[in-house]
């Protein structure tokens, strides 16, 4: 790489880790010590919502139910995200190791990996790795088993409560919250559900110590993160970078010299136009991302980008609640009508109001986040929506 302002990090894929030693050592530690490490590290969930991982584990450990579960969310459906596939391909044992440490802390005997149907081809290799894992935990005398369950092509099943419904053999329709999974998750039992990447970071924090992780990043966004970078960039791919970078530095390194906008966080994330690159921080204090970074250069029509996103949501909405089901349809119809000249440009304001309504009245994160991309694209590229 040329001289760069972004700090490359090598934690997730690092070879310098004998997973057996890490697991054996940590299963001997006290739960309090492990929880303290995860809490002190500042690790926050890498699946999008960014909930502190240590707290999630702690809450679940405090529940008194016999049955508890740890679930690895490998549904990775957010457009522009492909890092979990890479992690599961290259370091599956670290994922399982993270699940095992979590299981010890919360007191679970069973773990599940919910793998999206699109990644069926990974299953055989994962099962092979699982065999090795199971024989090792048995050697250690630790009572824990991991099962792999497959999805079948539904983005909404990445939403945690929809994922539990799907694991239970039902339609993947999100539940009302609260109760949260730490109290009532899979089979209505206390459950820790974490993203693939979160579990590997938790595992690696147990290896390198909370301090090493904590010293990376910023106050609100500790550590590093695996980014999935695609679109108009000469070097698309997967990169582990320190959190808290400015979008300007990011574009300088990954752009093609003509970047007009970056969609941070996938279809449910935010579109940042060139004039705001300088003031935008990638992280929980600025624009957060589950890893998806899509670059668009000036040859791209932002209308096409928005239409593609809205169509995505319209198809993937589970249809359970009206604001989201009907809202997505109307947003799509609306922007098409404006583009064709059947509606005046003012109609965009009406659509923005609709998106805002969806944000406050939809049942789950899908419907609530449509407004993110909708408003950020319409606000910044209004002319492109009209002409």
């Amino acid at each position: 790489m040329p001289n760069t302002k972004l700090k490359r990090v090598d934690i997730i894929f690092s070879e310098d880790c004998v997973y057996k030693d890490v697991l054996a050592d940590n299963l001997k530690k006290s739960n309090e010590d492990i929880l303290k490490d995860i809490l002190d590290s500042g690790l926050r969930g890498r699946g999008g919502a960014g909930f502190p991982t240590g707290l999630k584990w702690k809450f679940t450990s405090q529940e008194t139910e016999e049955e508890k579960y740890v679930v690895c969310n490998a549904d990775e459906g957010e457009p522009g995200t492909f890092k979990d596939r890479e992690i599961l391909t290259r370091v599956p044992l670290k994922v399982f190791g993270g699940m095992a440490i979590c299981a010890k802390v919360i007191g679970a005997k069973h773990g599940y990996v919910y793998l999206r149907g699109e990644y069926q081809f990974l299953k055989a290799d994962l099962e092979k790795a699982l065999e090795e894992f199971h024989s090792f935990v048995k050697e250690l005398g630790f009572d824990f088993q991991i099962h792999i369950l497959m999805g079948s092509g539904a983005y909404i099943c990445g939403e945690e409560s929809a994922l539990f419904e799907s694991m239970e053999g039902k339609r993947g329709e999100p539940r009302n919250k609260p109760p949260y999974p730490t109290i009532s998750g899979f089979r209505n039992k206390p459950t820790v559900i974490n993203n693939v990447e979160t579990l590997v970071y938790a595992f690696m924090i147990c290896r390198i110590g909370a301090g090493k992780f904590h010293e990376l990043g910023t106050t609100d966004s500790r550590g590093s993160k695996v980014f999935s970078i695609s679109g108009d960039t000469p070097i698309a791919g997967i990169y582990e970078l320190e959190l808290g970078m400015s979008l300007e530095d990011f574009v300088e390194e990954f752009g093609d010299g003509d970047t007009k906008a970056v969609q941070v966080g996938g279809a449910s994330g935010f579109c940042v136009p060139r004039k705001k690159f300088k003031d935008t921080i990638i992280g929980f204090e600025g624009v957060p991302t589950g890893g998806s970074m899509m670059l668009f250069n000036s040859s791209r029509s932002m209308y096409n980008v928005l239409k593609n996103y809205v169509e995505f949501f319209e198809e993937e909405s589970c249809g359970q609640c009206t604001p989201c089901r009907v809202g997505c349809q109307q947003l799509k119809k609306g922007i098409e009508a404006i583009k064709k000249g059947e509606k005046s440009a003012h109609y965009l304001d009406t659509l923005q109001k609709l998106a805002d309504t969806m944000k406050v009245s939809s049942k789950c994160g899908l419907g609530q986040s449509v407004a993110n991309s909708f408003s950020s694209i319409v606000d910044n590229f209004r002319e492109e929506m009209i002409y």
Partner: protein, 155 residues
């Protein structure tokens, strides 16, 4: 249809006969048959002792659990934004010409179905598509033609 009955029974033996077995069983039917017929759904309901409406409700929720007849090879081309930007439309056009069908259709010989799907998780290597469970990335016209030729030769 004795074969379907056999298949459902085998799958239930393997995955169990409760609500949680439903999805793995339906997935197993799709792996064997490429789609779940009404007969198959009724059979699953009988084998698991639940209402056919429950089975139908679950099956129709998931885009990979097809309930319409599909070809032996189901092609799903990613239509999400980065693949779209990298030339997905041309890939679909090439496939339509090679197979002489439109998106959503199945060839007369029942060998191929052409569909579109959402992001496959290969955005850095778009355009991407699945043929059944196999992934193909960085597609162009030549590559797609070669892939389809290969499949046709091995049918």
């Amino acid at each position: 249809m004795p074969e379907i009955k056999e298949l459902v029974k085998d799958l239930a033996d393997k995955h169990g006969r409760n609500r949680e077995s439903l999805l793995p069983i339906l997935q197993g039917i799709v792996t064997e048959e490429r789609f779940i017929s009404d007969v198959a759904m009724t059979e699953v309901a009988r084998e698991l002792d639940m209402s056919a409406a429950l089975v139908y409700g679950t099956a129709t929720f998931y885009s990979f659990l097809d309930t319409k007849p599909r070809g032996k090879f189901v092609i799903r081309v990613c239509k999400t934004i980065t693949c779209d930007m990298k030339g997905k439309k041309q890939i679909v056009k090439t496939l339509e010409e090679l197979l002489k069908i439109k998106v959503g259709e199945t060839t007369k010989d029942k060998n191929f179905t052409l569909l579109e799907t959402n992001c496959l998780g290969w955005c850095h290597k778009g355009p991407a598509m699945l043929i059944n469970d196999e992934v193909f990335t960085e597609l162009d016209e030549d590559k797609v033609t070669e892939i389809i030729d290969d499949y046709m030769r091995n049918i």
